[in-house]
């Protein structure tokens, strides 16, 4: 935010009638957290560098926000609590809002719903206090105070017991307060925040302590996010800094492999203001559409900044929604900007995976050989003989080692994913890199490659198709049949050519050639599923991508297929050359990397 410097004190004036009418009247304070939000925003607008929030009983009994901002003089205090009095805009230009506040409404509202006391001292002046109770203003009285402002709100909603009844438990109101501060703290990494719970008039517990960060904005933000979201997030987050046509998207977006089960780690801001905008969250989802399965959610902290004239912040009482002059531009910047960033971070799989792997790899006591009695046929004398036959270790040179094949092939291992050294369990490729080893899930990796290739083919000359000698005929339910025939033309552009075949049957005539011998029947069944699920999918293109992603699965090397060394190395090289190959179409990683140092750690060598 462009806040005034703490020592230049702005002038508070009354807005004229016309301006007042242009301001959306609304419920400003609906729960303690919204009061905290208003007060902290005011402190930020006042240029504070440190802000302390104290609350008691979930904010119902006490909310106190202390800042070291510019403060207010004795003449300002009555104006501050008057309705529609603000220092932040002059009323002529509601479209050019650079501060959190602009309505001149927050303090007035707070004064009418609780016992409000404002103590303020501008730098180099005396301190004064003003108390407002039930909307009635007291007299401004001099008092001693530290530079800055302390605003205390006691007994919120005491005058409106009906409101009070709707509040939730102290605990959930308290967590809402912390959440509000956390969000604002993400937008303002240079400002320090302390949230303290007060019990019986005494500070009892520090809920959140964030020291002011300094230095380069991105570094500051990264440190702030490490405090707020954990080191895992920042270790897996890519820096976003893209600008187009006066819109600037900045922040951090996590790799798809760091996806979450819910959207709890999505924080979007417009010009530093936390927003809950559907448009923007939708765009975030679309940006990750390709690389995450439907039940996973991206994690990101992003600020979209632009000239304040291009966005209307005055559409929601809590200011949590905004309206863009050109919503498409904002949306497309998020989508394409993030995709570019993700593609560049493409072959970087989540590093927490490596850590998780290490944790899973704790050394284990050698296991005693145990027979799986359930899976064994009931040959009577088998047990004894079998035990005798099962040596502790396979005798060297004889019995084939359990499905692992070791490849002596030497390829320069300077490549990021190294040289394939072995295939284990017919699904995992072990490759040696310059600094460690990489374990690749061959099916997941190949699926991703096929998907990217299908998309590239579609976007270039169209997807080459293989005509079927024996068309696959499928009987469908009438709804599936209708849905499929409706999509027939779109599917043909994806290389899947189907025709009605009398009644509710369809014939598959052509399939994308890259899928090879894939079962047309299984392919079609999946496509029908996909069509069924996408009622509200974002756009035709996204829907088609989702279908391609389903198709890709059918053309992929199955788990359980043996691969020759050349094949494995070719796969690795192709992964390196393919953007986004670090995760499969469902957002799972396609490989994990273990550094030599990690391996050494496993063996206690460090």
């Amino acid at each position: 935010m462009n806040s005034p410097a703490p020592n230049i004190r702005p002038v508070i004036r009354l807005l004229d009638e016309a301006a007042i009418n242009r301001i959306a009247a609304g419920e400003v304070v609906e729960r303690p957290a919204s009061a905290v939000k208003e007060l902290v925003e005011n402190a930020l607008d006042a240029g504070a560098r440190r802000i302390a929030v104290d609350y008691a009983a979930g904010g119902k009994v006490l909310i106190r926000v202390t800042d070291d901002g510019c403060g207010m003089g004795p003449d300002d205090l009555p104006l501050a609590v008057a309705r529609h009095a603000t220092s932040k805009i002059d009323g002529s230009d509601l479209l050019n809002i650079r501060s959190f506040g602009f309505r001149g409404e927050a303090l007035a509202s707070l004064g009418s719903v609780g016992r409000l006391s404002i103590t303020s001292r501008p730098r180099g002046e005396e301190g004064h206090r003003l108390v407002v109770e039930g909307g009635r203003m007291g007299a401004v009285a001099p008092c001693s105070a530290a530079p800055g402002t302390v605003i205390e709100l006691r007994d919120l909603f005491y005058a409106t017991p009906a409101r009070l009844k709707f509040l939730r438990s102290d605990r959930s109101e308290a967590s809402a307060i912390a959440e509000v501060v956390r969000r604002l703290a993400m937008a303002e990494p240079l400002v320090g925040f302390v949230v303290t719970e007060v019990v019986e008039g005494e500070p009892a517990r520090v809920i959140l302590r964030l020291d002011p960060e300094n230095g380069d904005f991105f570094d500051a933000l990264q440190r702030r996010l490490t405090r707020l979201l954990g080191a895992d997030f920042t270790a897996n987050a890519l820096r976003v800094d893209v600008e187009r046509e006066g819109l600037h998207l900045s922040g951090y977006a996590a790799l798809p492999t760091y996806s979450r089960g819910t959207s709890v780690q999505q924080f979007l801001f417009v010009n530093g203001r936390p927003v809950q905008d559907r448009l923007l969250y939708g765009a975030l989802r679309v940006a990750y559409f390709d690389v995450l399965s439907r039940d996973r959610h991206p994690a990101a902290v992003l600020n979209l900044s632009c000239d304040p004239e291009r966005v209307d912040v005055n559409v929601h009482p809590a200011k949590s929604e905004v309206r863009f002059r050109e919503p498409e531009a904002a949306r497309s910047l998020i989508i394409t900007g993030l995709r570019t960033v993700l593609a560049q971070g493409g072959t970087r799989a989540s590093s927490t995976l490596g850590t998780a792997t290490l944790q899973a790899l704790r050394p284990e006591a050698p296991r005693v050989y145990q027979m799986d009695l359930g899976a064994r046929p009931s040959f009577t004398t088998l047990a004894r003989a079998y035990e005798a036959q099962a040596p502790a270790y396979p005798p060297p040179g004889f019995a084939e080692m359990p499905s692992a094949r070791v490849e002596p092939v030497a390829e320069p291992s300077s490549a990021p994913l190294g040289a394939a050294r072995a295939q284990v369990h017919e699904n995992y490729i072990i490759a040696q890199t310059a600094t460690g080893i990489v374990i690749v899930d061959q099916h997941a990796a190949h699926e991703r490659l096929v998907y990217e290739k299908l998309k590239a083919q579609r976007d270039a000359a169209g997807i080459p198709t293989q005509a079927l000698l024996i068309p696959e005929i499928l009987e469908l339910s009438s709804s599936d049949h209708a849905r499929l025939m409706e999509a027939a033309e779109a599917l043909a552009s994806l290389g899947l050519v189907i025709e009605p075949f009398g009644g509710q049957a369809v014939a598959v005539r052509e399939v994308p050639a890259i899928l090879g011998q894939a079962s047309a029947k299984a392919l079609l069944a999946d496509v029908i599923d996909e069509l069924g699920e996408q009622g509200d999918a974002p756009s035709l293109k996204a829907r088609m991508d989702a279908i391609l992603s389903r198709m890709a699965c059918h053309g992929s090397i199955r788990s359980g297929r043996q691969m020759r060394a050349e094949e494995m190395n070719a796969l690795l090289r192709e992964m390196e050359a393919t953007p986004l190959s670090g995760q499969c179409n469902h957002g799972r990683p396609t490989y994990v990397e273990l550094k030599l140092s990690d391996i050494e750690r496993l063996f206690g060598r460090t």
């Binding site: 004398t381 004894r384 036959q389 019995a399 270039a460 005509a467 000698l469 024996i470 090879g516």
Partner: protein
């Protein structure tokens, strides 16, 4: 059981047995080979429950009997013994061991009782006939490239062997298709085969069968029932379940009205296809054929890696035609042509294409085009 046997004879008999054994089976007894000694013969039997191979070899049997040991391990041991060695196999049932001695080497392997070994139930074969090895070899060799590996259409995972009406009367016919291409190979109907039920011989069985067909002079005894098929030489008997499914009515997909005829030297054609396909790194490399006035232009255009073109002089006098194919399919189909020219019969660029070896009507191949 105790017997001695010449190493080379033993190795040959075991080779076939151990190849049937599934490496990754979970049932221990299936990793074993059943050794049965009686009279002057030792028999080795191995199975994966779908295929059973029985190999007989002459041996000096000192004490008749039977036991089972790991097929792979026994084969490995015998393979590493010096040529010309005389191998003695002696089972100690009480200790559950089989001793293998040859010269100064001796080994002892754990055994499992013979009673545990699943011997395939013998069945009644409706049809029995004999066919020369080269005839069966040709039937299966030329068809097997088209076998499908895709498991959901399991009934395509083998070669359909049946009696059919060919252009010149009733024939013994093998057909395989993977849904993209098809091979149909005919041979003169052997005596006694006319009532044979059509069976789908699984891919793995086709591979094992091939080992019985090396000897040009051999006569193969073929027995067929609804559920099983057996191929036998005097030494080896290969019994296999057949795929329980209905092979599709392939005759309907073999085009009859294709009139645009291309005649080309098969080897030249294959080499040219192989060369132009080099520039594409795709798995399904598409080659475009452009035909006009005794000229064939093969071209590949791979947007991300490159382009290639080659021209061949051919015999073609129909209308200009452009048609695309998967390079691998063209190579495999051209690879079936032994001596003659490859004769292609096209219709349109989206229609099935037929290929024959010169004027030989006993082998027909169909391949579907690719749209690029």
């Amino acid at each position: 059981m105790k017997l001695s046997i010449e190493r080379a004879v033993l190795l040959k008999a075991l080779a076939q047995a151990q190849s049937v054994v599934e490496r990754r089976n979970t049932i221990p007894i299936l990793a074993n080979v059943l050794i049965e000694a009686e009279g002057a013969t030792v028999a080795f039997r191995a199975t994966d429950l779908d295929i059973e191979v029985l190999d007989r070899a002459p041996a000096m049997v000192e004490r008749a009997g039977a036991t089972t040991v790991s097929a792979v391990m026994l084969h490995e041991i015998v393979r590493k013994l010096p040529d010309g060695a005389l191998v003695v196999l002696a089972a100690d049932a009480a200790a559950g061991r089989l001793a293998i001695t040859a010269g100064r080497s001796s080994f002892s392997l754990a055994t499992l009782p013979r009673e545990d070994f699943p011997v395939m139930a013998s069945s009644e074969y409706a049809t029995n006939f004999a066919a020369p090895a080269p005839v069966l070899r040709r039937l299966f060799d030329k068809a097997k490239f088209a076998i499908s590996t895709e498991e959901t259409r399991y009934y395509l995972n083998g070669v359909y062997m049946h009696v059919a009406r060919g252009p010149e009367g009733t024939v013994l016919r093998c057909v395989a298709t993977d849904g993209h291409r098809l091979a149909q190979i005919d041979a003169a109907l052997p005596e006694g085969a006319s009532a044979m039920p059509g069976v789908i011989v699984p891919r793995k069985t086709v591979g094992e069968l091939r080992k019985l067909l090396e000897d040009d002079e051999a006569q193969i005894a073929v027995s067929v029932s609804e559920t099983k098929v057996r191929f036998a030489t005097p030494q080896v008997t290969l019994t296999s379940k057949v795929i329980d499914g209905t092979f599709p009515d392939y005759s309907r997909v073999i085009p009859q009205g294709n009139t645009r005829k291309l005649e080309v030297d098969a080897a030249e054609f294959a080499k040219a296809v192989d060369r132009v396909a080099t520039v594409s790194s795709e798995r399904s490399r598409a080659v475009k054929l452009t035909l006009e006035d005794d000229r064939l232009i093969l071209s590949v255009n791979a947007p991300d890696s490159g382009a290639a073109e080659e021209e061949l002089a051919v015999a073609y006098d129909a209308d200009r035609l452009e048609i695309g194919f998967n390079a691998k399919y063209l190579l495999e189909i051209a690879g079936q042509v032994d001596r003659e020219n490859a004769v292609f019969l096209f219709n349109g660029s989206g229609d099935p294409t037929l290929m024959r070896e010169g004027n030989d009507m006993s082998a027909t191949y169909v391949v579907m085009p690719m749209r690029v």
